[in-house]
């Protein structure tokens, strides 16, 4: 199969940087009692995306493959032009739940990836403090996770991913467990952080509004086997505010995505 780069074929805006992450003919098959299930099939895409699809369509599997946590059955993933073999410091993962270790203070949780990678924690303390300040958690650096609200915990998890200064941020429905109001705040915050650090983000979600609000492009996935239904370029001005959700153009994107996902016959 001829590899297709979504960046080349679907993005009409000119002069995009070469793809940071590239997945060719990717598939992941789980051996289960009921036989083989193809969770992913032939995903090709370029460098900046948000992925939306029904639950069970393989979004999380895709993310784990891209993070090097799961081997793919066929196909290949390239990160920065090099084939991906296992987890790498270039890509950091933000999970569905904050996954903060309750016996560590916030700052020690943030420095955990540094410890795991055998890097000198002392030289990362300043950047950890800066990042915690950026998300407004300076006063909580020495607190334990159970003293924080869910939104604060997820912000700390984001800081933990950013402290390694990765080129790619892989986010697996990071705000799915938060209430609607906190979720909107976190979306705004993520945009603010993203505009400061300009990381490449792959953002998994099942919220249409969240996908449109955050992304440059949205990949809509079909369910079982998961494959790309369409890639939609979101041409909304950057520095988005929550009010942009109410614009007509936003509504058109939402209708388009909804019809794409409804075409799968799933419940939405």
């Amino acid at each position: 199969m001829k590899p297709m780069r979504a960046a080349d074929s679907l993005d009409t805006s000119t002069n995009r940087a070469p793809a940071l992450i590239l997945a060719r003919g990717l598939s992941k098959t789980y051996i289960t009692a009921s036989g083989e299930v193809t969770a992913l099939k032939s995903l090709d895409f370029g460098e900046f995306v948000s992925v939306i699809g029904q639950s069970g369509c393989g979004k999380s599997t895709l993310l784990k493959v891209l993070a090097g946590l799961l081997p793919c059955t066929t196909g290949s993933v390239e990160l920065g032009g090099k084939p991906l073999r296992g987890p790498t410091p270039e890509a950091a993962v933000v999970f569905q739940s904050p996954v903060l270790l309750p016996w560590r203070t916030l700052v020690d949780n943030v420095l955990l990836p540094i410890e795991f990678r055998k890097l000198p924690t002392a030289s990362y303390r300043q950047s950890a403090a800066d990042l915690l300040a950026m998300v407004g958690l300076t006063d909580f650096a020495q607190r334990y996770p159970f003293e924080l609200s869910g939104g604060m915990q997820q912000r700390a998890a984001l800081v933990r991913a950013l402290v390694q200064d990765p080129r790619l941020l892989l986010m697996d429905e990071p705000f799915g467990a938060l209430d609607a109001m906190t979720r909107e705040q976190m979306n705004l915050e993520l945009l603010r952080i993203w505009s400061q650090s300009r990381k490449t983000v792959i953002f998994i979600t099942h919220s249409i509004a969240e996908a449109i609000f955050l992304s440059d492009r949205v990949i809509a996935m079909t369910a079982r086997p998961g494959t790309i239904a369409d890639v939609i370029t979101i041409d909304l001005p950057r520095l988005r505010a929550l009010s942009s959700i109410n614009t007509e153009r936003f509504g058109r994107y939402a209708a388009k995505l909804r019809s794409l996902l409804d075409a799968q016959g799933g419940m939405f």
Partner: protein
């Protein structure tokens, strides 16, 4: 909604404070209600012996037991007729056995969980050995180790081993997979994964097992002394039993209960030091009316 709640309450109970401070009973039941229960039990005991006129060789009245206890405890720790000497020996056997048994249980639990092939192949034997009544091994200890310390330590170690092993394995199973995934996504070494994620995650379960084992450790030492010993509270108990001295027997039994309570309390103190995060998180998750 809040206002409504306050209104209905003030209608119900007149001039109630807005959020009444829970009473001293609710805040410190262990210092108020628990001693009251003790007094009630003692009174019931006294009534049972005094009013029903139970013979002293079946249930001695509490004042006789108290007299025996004071007599036994007022002697010096080196006096073999006093309780301190024998209690120290029993506690020493229990502590040694507990340390050995629970250390082995925790390590083996970790090893068997971390390498599933070992866990699966050993599992039937573990279940088999666990369903064996360990107390039945006690007479064998006399054959193997004689009347000395080793036999009691051995039986205590065997008895404390299982609750710790089982809890450690349950703890390992309960480690959130996301924590392991997080470590793997950061290229954590196997050692870091064990020491920084898995073992700390298991601690609440481990301490649950240690709590059970701490109480069982006294049991193990006493059973070991029953079958043959030259000293210890279990041996003392057998001596009093043969002499039909029921009051001191009760005193020794109560002393054993106190020792069991204290060892369990000691484990609780260590747990509060190293596992504060699990307890705090649990306490925070509980509803307001459960706690102040």
């Amino acid at each position: 909604m809040m206002v409504q709640a306050v209104d209905s309450r003030s209608v119900d109970s007149g001039a109630q404070a807005r959020e009444p401070r829970p009473g001293v009973l609710r805040r410190y039941p262990q210092f108020t209600i628990s001693p009251t229960i003790l007094v009630a039990l003692l009174v019931a005991w006294w009534l049972a012996t005094d009013v029903l006129n139970t013979p002293g060789y079946i249930v001695p009245p509490p004042q006789d037991v108290l007299r025996a206890a004071v007599g036994g405890l007022s002697r010096s720790p080196w006096d073999k007729a006093g309780y301190w000497y024998h209690a120290a020996i029993t506690v020493w056997e229990a502590v040694l056995g507990f340390a050995i048994g629970s250390a082995l249980g925790a390590c083996l639990g970790l090893v068997l969980s971390h390498w599933p092939i070992l866990g699966k192949s050993w599992y039937p034997y573990i279940v088999g050995f666990q369903s064996l009544p360990k107390v039945a091994l006690a007479p064998l200890m006399v054959v193997w180790f004689g009347f000395g310390l080793e036999g009691k330590v051995f039986i205590t170690a065997i008895i404390t081993f299982f609750p710790v092993l089982v809890n450690m394995m349950a703890g390992y199973q309960a480690v959130e997979p996301e924590r392991i995934e997080l470590a793997r996504s950061c290229n954590a070494s196997e050692l870091d994964l064990l020491t920084k994620i898995i073992i700390p995650s298991c601690l609440p379960f481990l301490f649950a097992g240690l709590g059970v084992a701490s109480v069982l450790s006294i049991l193990g030492a006493v059973v070991g002394e029953f079958v043959g010993a030259s000293a210890g509270l279990g041996m003392l108990l057998m001596q009093y039993n043969q002499a039909m001295e029921i009051s001191p027997m009760f005193a020794v039994i109560l002393l054993l209960a106190v020792l069991g309570f204290l060892t369990n309390y000691a484990v609780g103190l260590v747990e509060r030091r190293y596992c504060f995060w699990a307890q705090r998180a649990n306490a925070m998750a509980r509803t307001d009316w459960d706690r102040p």
